[in-house]
Amino acid sequence: MPSIAKPLVGHPSLAKNAIGLTIRDYEGTMSTLCAGCGHDSITAAIIKALWELSTPPHRLAKMSGIGCSSKTPTYFVSGAHGFNSAHGRMPAIATGASAANRELTYVGVSGDGDSLSIGIGHLCHAIRRNLNMLYVLENNGVYGLTKGQFSASTDVGSKSKKGEANVMSPIDPIQLALSIGATFVARSFSGDKEQLIPILKAAIAHRGFALVDVISPCVTFNDHEGSTKSYKYSRGATHAATESDFVPPATEIVGSIGPVGSTSIRMHDGSVLNFTRVPDNYDVTDRAAAVKYLREHPGQIVTGVLFADEGVPDMHEMAGSPQTALVNVPFDKLCPGSAALERLMGSFR
């Protein structure tokens, strides 16, 4: 725990975003994580992404479960709503929250333990429902909060701090998500904000569930020689499959600035995800190609936006739920009274 809160004084060049806020307005309280934790770096990337998108703090909902990673929503956007749920239950709570208020921007933060062990079922169903949220999986290959046990994402052969090698095969959240129909799948590294920030922005703009798996070294329990999730190993093993940039709706002027890269995907809100580089024979909208590419690069941490499909309806579209948050639905419509209930019940008889 740092000795002091981050002083409020900031650099005079601090810019304001479209809603008049500086990046400092998107900070949270001081992190209590270990100094050097990859999670803190991701927090900084989320702050930057939300500031750049000019997301109004009070229109943001931060969701999480249990774990060091799940503690981090406290460390960004103090002015937002938030729910720190039970272990692994974040997707379920987020589903409920979104059902009630579809107008908020949902950012969920989870860990590899929270997501791939206790919460794996909830994660799968949120993906199936195409729940409209950014789901950041801060992947350090251990249960950090409980002092470094192997998690379900630990690679075979990766060593614990005491030197024991893991023997069980890992669950790759990306391949899992692709196999059950995820509509936006990306991977990055906490130590590469240049890549991570545009990915986070695109993921927030995405219509539906966006899974961003971020390799995030645990500096205390999994940053040693022999670990495949250390800073050193991760830097050496990352392989950027795609390179992309995110162009928000306001700045895109079709015609004058054409798409830079080989492919571009128009996001639901009018923004554009420009791919400045994708491998030959790789189509970011082709699910099978993404899986194939991952399989062809074993032992490497393949990063970038790996798959995106803007054409799939999200949970609300599938359910045909009201266009607005339930708070904005007039009370007599929300609760039409016993006569209406009688009619409804009658229709089932």
Partner: protein, 600 residues
Amino acid sequence: MHASDTSNPDYFHKVVDCQWACPAHTNVPEYIRLIAQGRFTDAYMLNRESNVFPAVLGRTCDRPCEPACRRSRLPSPSGEETPVAICRLKRVASDHKGDISERLPKAPAVKNGKRIACIGAGPSSLTVANDLMPHGYSITILERYDKPGGLMRTNIPSFRLPEQVLADEVNSILDMGVDIRYNTPATSMKAILDEGFDAIFVGSGAPRGKDLDLPGRNESDRIHIGIDWLGGLAFGHIDKIGEKVLIIGVGNTAMDCCRSSRRLGGKDVKVMARRPRAYFKASPWELEDAEEENIEIVINHAPKRFVIENGVLTGMEFERLEWDAEAKKSTVIDTVILPCDDVILAIGQDNAFPWIEHDLGIEFDKWGMPKVDQTTFECTRPGIFFGGDAAWGPKNIIWAVEHGHQAAISIDNHCQGVSVAERLGFGINLISQKMGLSEWSYHNDYNPASRQKMKHVDLVQRFEDLHVEVELGFTAEQTAREVQRCLNCDVQTVFKAAKCIECDACIDICPLSCLTITKDGPEDEMRLRLSAPATNITQELFASDPLPHTGRLMMKDEDLCVHCGLCAERCPTAAWDMQKSQLNINYAGQASTKLELTHA
């Protein structure tokens, strides 16, 4: 970029903006921390080491440290951020110090046999005596007046600097056994040389006030030369002035003349300036103090003639000027006559060395100034040194002190047979401030308090007696607040590239966006692609050695670092550490000490 050479003492010295700007390199942040701890005597003694006259300077210093203070560059929610009140905190140390007699330098019982003459008893000569007496030198000061202190005594009015405050500090030097000959103007350098001194220091100042040769100048005795007039006041020869007073010039002397006039009966006192306010020599705070006393500062007026009617000065005629944008060229609009009873000329000082014969090997330049070496302060005749205002014209007390320190080193070398050019320069010690996890031995939090305003004696009371000191000093509460404004710039961020794992923690936490890990490049290009643009090129851009994992560089823009230590706290490998830099300043005595050691 080349990796920054932080082993060069200048690197970290420069980060301590105030200490770097102080001619005598006073260890400002350290004395401010000592004050914060209530250690006033220690704070005073630390000051005395480098600036010799803390109580005097705490009231009068030109304070080049304050405009340099890092704090003044930070943005502030309440408008403009102001520097730490460095100067007035010096006064706090002296106001509350305890008995220092045991801690003052003392002359040894046995003299070293070397005799030094100092001309003039101003701050430069006194510093020479202060530095050399403890090493066994015999110092003789020749002073034309009957009191020591130089312009500090004769020209700085007692409402700014009480006589006793000055006397205490001057006596702490003289009491070491300095042989001071009062009422002894030097009239011949040759005669002094004939006395067989081992070295001579000329600290006679710039004693001649500039005159203004305009029509009417010699037709009235109510036209005064500022520094002489102030001298007359200090020695009690002058005790009144007319109701209407015009001060010509707008420098430090003018400020003291106008404020003194208000105390001697001047009711309508005007300071007449040729140029617009932005070009004044007086400091903003001096102008403020004058205006607080209802003195009018009139700009764009050039003196033309003295108006004398029936042998009596009745006014002065001025040309009203209009200046171009940079105040370089002016055009005359018209002329005006301002009525007055007295005029005080405060337009500068000249040096004068009529007593130095020209056949002694002491060369002068075409302006009549001695040729003096910038480092050794020696003139063209070995063994004769110049310092203070006598060396390169009028400066200020703190420069006079620094000249004294440097000249004393040369004199020591000269007398011990060491080349005067042999000087040790600075050294620096770095001491880690880490006490434990997230625990530092200094107060690392940033305090948003604004600068404390010095309270002044009310206007009626201060005019009752010429000697009422205007500034009241800081209250305990004000001191407590002001000390916390200092950013502890001497607690340095020290980086070890080999330890960095590039986790970004330091970059993310830094409140002032000082840090960046990035690819190497040319400095001016890199300055623009950092976490925040590093546009203040007077401030160092730190570049590390290539980092082990990626070969990129850790960069730090020193400009706005608030020395909060968060980078070091969040660094998992202690690649960053907060280390206090202690500048080692060398004073006279190295040559003597070396000699003593070889004899022992």
